[in-house]
C-alpha cells in the first residue's frame, strides 16, 4: 500500500533525528519527515484519474467537480511547506550561531546543560 511508503519515509526521518550526532543532520532528518507528511497529505487528496483543481474556461462546474482532485490538502501542504521553510531558516540560524560559539556542529561537544 502506497501510504506505508510514506510512513517509511517519515520513520527514516525520525531515525535520522534520533541517531544523528550533528546539528545539521538533525535538521535534515526533520526535513525528510516533513516531505513524508506532505506526500501523505497529497496522496490522501488524490482521486483515481484526477485532474488538477484548476478550471479551464470550457468546463462546467459539475464535470469539473466530478474529476478534479481534492484542493483542500493542497492548500494545507502549501501552508505547511512555507511554515517548514520558516522553521528551517530559524534552525539553520541556530546551527550557525552554535557553530560560532562551539566551533563545531557536533552535539556531543555541546553539553553545558545536563539533567
Amino acid at each position: 500500500m502506497i501510504y506505508s511508503l510514506c510512513l517509511l519515509l517519515i520513520l527514516v526521518g525520525l531515525y535520522g533525528v534520533a541517531v544523528s550526532r550533528n546539528t545539521l543532520k538533525i535538521v535534515i532528518g526533520l526535513l525528510i519527515m516533513e516531505h513524508g507528511v506532505h506526500l501523505l497529505l497529497i496522496l490522501i487528496g488524490y482521486r483515481t484519474a484526477g485532474s488538477p483543481p484548476i478550471m479551464d474556461p470550457g468546463t462546467t462546474a459539475t464535470d469539473f467537480s466530478g474529476s478534479a482532485v481534492d484542493p483542500l490538502p493542497q492548500a494545507l501542504v502549501l501552508t505547511s511547506i512555507v511554515i517548514g521553510l520558516g522553521v528551517l531558516a530559524l534552525m539553520a540560524a541556530l546551527c550557525v550561531r552554535l557553530y560560532e560559539r562551539y566551533g563545531t556542529f557536533d552535539i556531543r561537544a555541546m553539553t553545558r546543560l545536563r539533567g
Partner: protein, 163 residues
C-alpha cells in the same frame, strides 16, 4: 568591509548569465503572482521565484550586487508592507464593506471571469503575500550568508528597525 574571497561571487561568465537572466526570472515571478487565481501559482510560488532572482544575484555577484538591488532595510519594510496589505484588506472586509473579517468584498462579476482583474480581493492578497514571501526569504538568506563574513568585524549591524 573585509570580505573573504568566496563572497566575491563566481566567475565572470556566471555573473553575466545571471545578469541576463534576472529580468526574465523576475518577469516570470511577477507573472506567477498576478495570475495566481487563474493558472497554477500565486503569492507563495511567485514570491519564492522572485526571492530566487535576488539570491541568484547574490550568489553570482557577491553580497554587494545582491544588496544593491534590494537592501535589507527595503526587504524588512516590504515584509511589513506585504503583511499590512493583507491585514488591511481583511479589516476592510469587516468594517468598510460591513461583512466579516477576511471577507472577499470586491464583487466577482460573471463576465470578468478568467481575466486578470477578477476574483475580488484574491489578486491583491496574492500581491501582498508575494511581497512578503519574497522579501522574507531574501532577508533570511542574506542574513545567514553574511553572518560568517561579518562575524569578525566589529562593524555595527545595519539596523532594520523599520519593522
Amino acid at each position: 568591509m573585509n570580505r573573504d574571497p568566496s563572497d566575491q561571487g563566481m566567475g565572470e561568465i556566471v555573473r553575466t548569465v545571471a545578469r541576463w537572466l534576472r529580468g526574465f526570472i523576475l518577469a516570470y515571478g511577477i507573472y506567477v503572482v498576478l495570475h495566481g487565481h487563474i493558472t497554477p501559482g500565486g503569492g507563495f510560488e511567485g514570491g519564492i521565484v522572485i526571492a530566487c532572482v535576488f539570491i541568484l544575484l547574490t550568489l553570482a555577484g557577491g553580497q554587494d550586487l545582491g544588496l544593491s538591488f534590494f537592501s535589507r532595510r527595503a526587504a524588512l519594510s516590504f515584509i511589513s508592507v506585504g503583511g499590512l496589505l493583507f491585514l488591511a484588506l481583511a479589516w476592510m472586509g469587516m468594517w468598510w464593506a460591513g461583512g466579516a473579517f477576511l471577507q472577499n468584498f470586491i464583487g466577482t462579476s460573471e463576465e470578468a471571469r478568467f481575466s486578470l482583474f477578477s476574483a475580488g480581493t484574491i489578486p491583491i492578497l496574492n500581491i501582498g503575500l508575494g511581497l512578503k514571501v519574497a522579501s522574507s526569504l531574501f532577508l533570511v538568506f542574506t542574513v545567514l550568508a553574511a553572518f560568517r563574513i561579518d562575524a569578525a568585524s566589529e562593524k555595527p549591524e545595519e539596523e532594520g528597525s523599520g519593522s
